[in-house]
Amino acid sequence: MIYEDYVRVLYINLSTGKIRIEHRKDLHEYLGGVGVASRLLEETVKPELEPLDEAQPIVFAIGAGSTVFPVLTKTVAMFRSPLTGELGESYAGGRMAMTLFMAGYDAVVIQGRSCKPVYLAITRNDVEFKDARALWGMSSDEVGRVVREREPGRGKRSIIRIGPAGENMVSFASVCVDTYRHFGRLGLGAVFGSKNLKAISIVGDKSIPVKNFKEYFKVYQEIYNRVTDTEIMSKYHDAGTPINIEPLNAAGALPTKNLRQNVFEYGDNISGETFAQKNLIRKMACTGCPVGCIHIGQFRREFDKGHEYEAVSESYDYELLFSLGSFLGTKTSDEVLQLIELAEHYGLDAMSAGVALGWATEAFMKKLVTEEQTLVPLGFGKTQSYLKAIEYMANKRNDFYKALSEGVNKASDLYGGKEFAMHFAGNEMPGYHTGYGAIIGAAVGARHSHLCNGGYSIDQSMKEFDKEKLVSALFEEEKERCMLNSLVICLFARKVYDRKTILMALNSIGYNLKDEDLTAIGERIYKTKLRIKKALGFDQMSVKLPKRLFETPSMMGQLDENVAYELLGMYNKRVEEMMAGA
């Protein structure tokens, strides 16, 4: 809590229906966000039990200055991932951080399993367990609408929920936050489903007076002006991250058709510019953000004969245009939006869903699986087949789709095609074939995401390839992002929040931190995550990289598998040295 020396944690047990609130002074040295969440996960996760066992926890945490300063808008979720079996870590914006902050909670730990479907209504100092049997089976949109109608607190409320994929415990099911944001990656939706937890409504209506308003306002204004009056953030508002399609395609770094290609011949049809011209209807912002980077696109759908149409709106980002666009050979922006809409309807992580379908398509083309198994003739660019396949995957329609719903790593264990199953330690690949930085970054990243250490960005800025420099850059960035995520800064704003700005902000709301404290916090959090990963059985040196990464040229040209494994070894040595000094 700001101005306090403790972290306020709400514990909810779905099995017993009981709650308790603890003021944890011992967590204060983790600052907040991913720091606090990592410690709470380490305390409560059960390494000896399966990821979807009822005893496994879900942890949410907000940052040390969430919503108090601009762009500190996100909430972190931590859990044991059903997709990778190890560290689950995912971030979402929307209103959730604001509502938790104003309800007076820094973190929430959910354990147990309800005997019947429930949704939780969290308010200040109270939690209600509400019957959700009538909501079971609803899409995330529908359940959002019903909870909105039933629960009070409009404008001060966040509603997070799962769709049918979460109920069916698809390993990469997502959790939808306030319609347009998601805890997308690593299967939090399945953990919700395993607990019979359909949704959570959080109402935050507490007012927290600022103690030194003059100092706080000065700092706030300085940050606000940098966010709004400089070029740092404007591209995120303009066309948003979809502007990546053009440079990645031009540089030969856009994973296309299950990474059989690094350039997409229809790239211009799904570029940020095309979406902006043809589909963009609205931009939105998370609470506490003056940027507005959420881009809403619209397509027209015929729902009946006789010229009966409806307008359908969905949010889109670069990663979705990659996974359901270039990766599947989708030729138009309208078709990409159709695929996004269906993934959203069922509550699937659009990234893993697209990459899984890319593998399935190639497996079908190579006759590793038959149409009897795929039920539709999968083929790159065949959107109608993919629309069916998304439904089959979400519902685990047959043995093939049941395997696919566990991710490409497990599906390729059963059906073959490991060499083109595009994942890093079980997490489906992100949309950057930029070079060794992207590959090693995802392989060593604590959650195997491009966001752990920004490897793609290092590839872009490194003038000459140097193994030592690359490994050092990844290692230092991973630690730095642990610190940034203890504030749960939207990483789009990481250039606004340099060390000086972070210290200025935190110290204006009652902290007393120095630069070296931030370094120590980052390292402390990274070590905690590594301890959790080890306890859950992760071994960095056993990670196998799919051969396809070294067959299709990257932005840096053809990559050498031996060099990649050498880099993995070098990174692992850095980790071992740090942990030995722990």
Binding site: D238, P247, A250, A251, S271, L491
Partner: protein, 76 residues
């Protein structure tokens, strides 16, 4: 020498909305110089493609070359 500069997507905000500009540059001008002359700041220049090939900023241009300028890859 005559050089064509093409600005992709978001970068058009630096070229008054124009996607293509014809420039008259001195002999041996570099690709990054062409982008800068078109109004695109070096800090915003991610990739340069000359006649279909990715090049460094220092790449020396020839009369009649086309320089395509792309923004940095962005993300979280």
């Amino acid at each position: 020498m005559k050089i064509i500069v093409e600005a992709a997507g978001w970068l058009k905000r630096f070229t008054s909305g124009r996607s293509e500009l014809e420039l008259d540059l001195p002999e041996n001008a570099s690709a990054i110089k062409a982008a800068a002359t078109a109004g695109i700041p070096e800090s915003e220049t991610g990739f340069l493609i000359v006649n279909g090939k990715k090049v460094d900023g220092a790449y020396v241009l020839k009369d009649g070359d086309t320089v395509k300028v792309y923004s940095h890859i962005i993300g979280g």
